[in-house]
Point group: C2
Chain length 641, copies 2
Amino acid sequence: MDGFGYRAWLQPSKAQLGFIPRLKGAKDFAWEECAHGLEALFGRKPTNRGDYTITLETSPDPAPEAYTLRGGPEGLTVTGGCEKGLLYGVYGLLSRLCLGEPVETMNVREKPAVRHRVLNHWDNANGTVERGYAGASLFFKGGRIGYDLVRLKDYARLLASVGINEICVNNVNVYRDSAKLLTDEMLPDLARVAEVFRPFGIRLIIAVHFDSPVILGGLETADPADGAVARFWEESARRVYEYVPDLAGFLMKADSEFRSGPAALGRTQDEGANVIAKALAPFGGNIYWRCFIYNCAQDWRDTETDRPKAAYNEFHPLDGKFDDNVILQIKHGPSDFQVREPNSPLLGAMTQTHQGLEFQITQEYTGQQKDLYATAVQWEEILDTPVTDACMTRDLVGHEVTAIVAVSNTGADANWTGHLLAQANLYAFGRMAWNPAQTAEQLTRDWAALTFGRDPSLVETLTSMLLESRHVYEKYNAPLGLGWMVNISHHYGPSPEGYEYMKWGTYHRATHTHIGVDRTTHGTGYTAQYHNYVRDLYESKKTCPEKLLLFFHRLPYTYKLKNGQTLIQYIYDTHFEGVGDVKRFIKIWESLNEKIPQDAYDSVREKFDMQLANAREWRDVINNYFYRVTGVPDDKGRKIY
Amino acid sequence: MDGFGYRAWLQPSKAQLGFIPRLKGAKDFAWEECAHGLEALFGRKPTNRGDYTITLETSPDPAPEAYTLRGGPEGLTVTGGCEKGLLYGVYGLLSRLCLGEPVETMNVREKPAVRHRVLNHWDNANGTVERGYAGASLFFKGGRIGYDLVRLKDYARLLASVGINEICVNNVNVYRDSAKLLTDEMLPDLARVAEVFRPFGIRLIIAVHFDSPVILGGLETADPADGAVARFWEESARRVYEYVPDLAGFLMKADSEFRSGPAALGRTQDEGANVIAKALAPFGGNIYWRCFIYNCAQDWRDTETDRPKAAYNEFHPLDGKFDDNVILQIKHGPSDFQVREPNSPLLGAMTQTHQGLEFQITQEYTGQQKDLYATAVQWEEILDTPVTDACMTRDLVGHEVTAIVAVSNTGADANWTGHLLAQANLYAFGRMAWNPAQTAEQLTRDWAALTFGRDPSLVETLTSMLLESRHVYEKYNAPLGLGWMVNISHHYGPSPEGYEYMKWGTYHRATHTHIGVDRTTHGTGYTAQYHNYVRDLYESKKTCPEKLLLFFHRLPYTYKLKNGQTLIQYIYDTHFEGVGDVKRFIKIWESLNEKIPQDAYDSVREKFDMQLANAREWRDVINNYFYRVTGVPDDKGRKIY
């Protein structure tokens, strides 16, 4: 496959190199990637008759993935802390060249903030992708591993070029077929996938079924306290590492959404995780243990149970009890990847446990790659959220947060991500996991320039539209942190009461006068899970960020916001605005027609039509719902159905 | 298979015959069935040394399916208008014997009210049953016809014993695999199914795909005005009748719920139906043409379009344009088998067109064979509904209504219907289609006695519980004819706004003050589709039956019902009552424990637990929904969540 969308941010550069490259160094994989990149991006193979020398070398570094780029008038040296670091140096150099940085003055040292920069694929063995909006699986087909070798290599390059170094190939919801990834039946094929990714510095992870000892091992229980179960995991680890010696580890979704787990057997989460951790330890593997545990069979009548409290209640008491190669994988918010929710109170609450911060690139609740939604903006907000008065979430990264993880938005669609502009989210994730201090703005601008070229007005226009897109989407969705007003199951489009009487613990409890759940210490007590500073912030309606108001407080529709507007009028206004904004986006996109390759332009233009229909549906359903239930008219007299 | 549930209403009688039967007559199929019945039901084979002679004979009758039973001191003569009539006479005799009627004084003439007494199976070729709650298909397996021959014969006997004489084996939603029933690939198997049912007087129907000329015939269009399309249907009919010479005809769901049809090609429904009718006519076949046509992609904002008006608008102007072997199959109500809706205005509006009145035995919206629901009670109400001041719906039967049709509730479950007591609905359907003048009470009582024996207190208890069950179910569901407050797709359990913003045209438009759609001539004008007498009845809030109030009128929650109660209080009261009634049903059932075979008792007891949970959920969700939206408290202060 080839074409504009397929090459993503590794587009041939429209600018000239300005020199003829000569390449020095051991002819290893980094060398090949550098030569390949120079040719693919600039149409210039390195040659011995070049007039500018790029030297590739490694030099032991305490941060082996680090690299430096030191340029001068005669040449530039890329130095990696190891071969992997050198490879990142090559990609770093190539992208800087594409962005137009002059080689002579280049003077850079880069090292990743966290060791584990991880992509989770929710790919099923049958070739479907759970919450996938970009076509079929890149890894599976018809119940087995099945892939296009050329394509997989191109995918590996895309990921490595932004610093991703671990990928889980199969869905965290492991079914009987993908459970077999631990067996001789599937491991030979998995080993071949690992071979594709290995040179790119990417290690594989396998999502495993908690009941594997029963399903695969023929045991009567998966109880982690059972010696036979421990032996099963030991044997499985040994077998897996024979095939894939550099496997990064296992990933587990246990006791979650009707899946089995230690709690179901009367054991604790640390007991469940540690037995597998011990099996992986001799091979240097980690177990990623997801914290997405809550009562998914809640009675809507039950107002005591409050789903956002669940993960903290389950895991916080266990801090320090996990083995050193356990990484608790924590979704950024306490709900489930909603457009707006506070950060998980677990983040910053555990100092003795390795943690992975989990984002979602695939747009499950955020427009499903039909609607434009720059996830980096949300991530930046998340990282900028205080944990205490002296510490931001960002500050945890590289300390207790040793992994940054995200659910991938990729699939077999020709452009990888369905919506072409959703490539920005994959790009930004890798770069942000490498260095969380980078702003969404910078990452978006880089992506735009790498993808569409360095035309300043194009880059600025695209960048500002993308940066705005998250807030536009939020405007026409469930207001003020409510979340969950989506159609059930598929999660696209509005259904104000769709989840209201269901078992998932996701209620807004709207009446004709009030809406929202009181999660303060006077209500469900959820706020008490935060550090005092943050608790107090959310506890008070005055200091609570307004965008989270209905997440934390139950309020009358007549409640006055800081600007004097009522809450109900805010809902009407934002929903009307959202649709207007999408129309404006379409105009902006149309203004770029000349500067974007036609097929790329058309494909995005089509998505915008879908987004406009979606935004209208949200506007009309949400406004209508609140108008019906409250009887309060829009003070601007606009059409509410 | 064998056992209590499997034998249904053909249970061995606990009473004695009181005589030793001798059987006279030609040893044809009716003779065999009589001998088989005497042995199976009474443990008595007929013998030449018997002391009471049962004579089986035929005597030409203008109503060939008619029969007489004339008893005397020495013997009884069963006379059929033809062999089929004789068979019905045999079943009639056997059931009367089981019910304890004395032979000597038996003096009966029976003839069916309509020629076509039809069961529609919504069975898919893959073996699933759409809206089926009684296990897999009896006819299909793995994409092909596949059945248990012994079981199919027992099924045929069950159906014939209550007078059903036509069955459609495949789903009206015809997919590519079942479309092949018209081809040499599936017809040999279908012919074998026909052979099983033929001796029982049951003819097959095939549901066909409107696009068959394209899918199977390789044509470019299915346009009924195209000569090649007409030839395709002629050839198909010829082929089918070679395999199944007595086929009753075809069944078509066209232009409905995203299915293709004549309207999609700019043709009228009569053009679509007649081209197929002409192909079937030489073979004596009919085309059943469903009238379930509406805009299933409605915008909820659109308050002009009113789904219940659709079928009348489409078909009424075409009265007289259909060929004589077209039967328009009309659902009893204008919505879709809801618990409470008015009769279709098409019924009685067309005098020049054969019509089939379609019921649903399978409990799609009425408890899915978990909740007890005697459909016969609803059918009786439907038949008792006026068409004009001088004519009831019942009076149409045998005139323009030449077919009574129902969607079957049967499947491969050991007891045929999932819920054992749902057998009553299959039984009642057959008997009522034969003679619509029979009351639900009589049919239910007969069924109870045939199934569980003639213990008077058992029969009375069961009968009165069943007769009440429809109203109990209605109490805890969407109130006053609103309908559609169900969970989307699967249609079990409450979701007050589940369909409110969807495309299906099913809206209640509840606000904090009002609810319902004004379907009078001041509103959508739906009432104008009825005869003046009926229109006036529904038009006025005073004369509109209260149970249909919110189907026809938009009303404030404070509206006073005839007994002085407010509408909102009525909702609360009925929903509390409904749960109480189910608890009472459980007590009643428990009181019958001694009198019911243990496994039958247990299986129904389990269903009652499900029903109670469902009734509670409905009560709490519906009451909570209305309480939230109105803020009006229950005047009895009961718990509303």
